[in-house]
Symmetry: C2
Subunit: 114 residues, 2 copies
């Protein structure tokens, strides 16, 4: 069976991009609450995950990810409300795009070599 | 003014991708009829353009780009009917996606740092 995947990227004014990689990282951070765990799960290096988080935090009006050091729970990493909203908007854009282009996408699939 | 751009990529079964770079190359090849001229116009190296053409030609059921050597017109490069159809489908997918996600995209723009 032929499989192809549509993915969507947003080029931001500061030159960075928001796409599937950052969306997956936000999702994993929300579930794991730890940069190390999220990076491991995604097969991403820790420095790479840190770099993507820095890019996201500097691209938006407020941070998408916050890291707390120490405290009674030993600190942790939290996706902020804005981070969650950006992730939800990105997911909604992907879903709306896929739904709107189903016919053309299937026609394209027919021309792809197996 | 904040500007952000939505771009769309299709991950093909053979591991290659079709996105804005290949679409721009097909468009330029159609207009210029020459790999060298198209690459120059796009600020792309000639070997890079050749590589993208090879990837496209091996990803679809038939070539998207044909090169003729010699002949009375000195040869040239031609975007095939399939190449034109794939380009048109990609453009249609991009247009349908952008139209379907306008509201979410504008909401996202509000959160982007100037």
């Amino acid at each position: 069976m032929k499989t192809a995947r549509l993915s969507l990227r947003i080029d931001l004014p500061n030159g960075t991009r928001f796409g599937p990689g950052k969306a997956a990282l936000l999702t994993a951070l929300r579930e794991d609450g730890s940069i190390k765990a999220a990076a491991t799960r995604l097969g991403m290096s820790y420095p790479r995950a840190l770099k993507l988080i820095e890019q996201m935090n500097s691209s938006f009006a407020a941070p998408l990810v916050e890291t707390q050091h120490g405290g009674s729970d030993g600190g942790g990493t939290r996706v902020t409300d804005l981070g969650q909203e950006v992730l939800d908007l990105y997911t909604a854009i992907c879903d709306a795009s896929a739904a709107a282009s189903t016919d053309q996408f299937h026609t394209l699939l027919k021309h792809i070599r197996d």
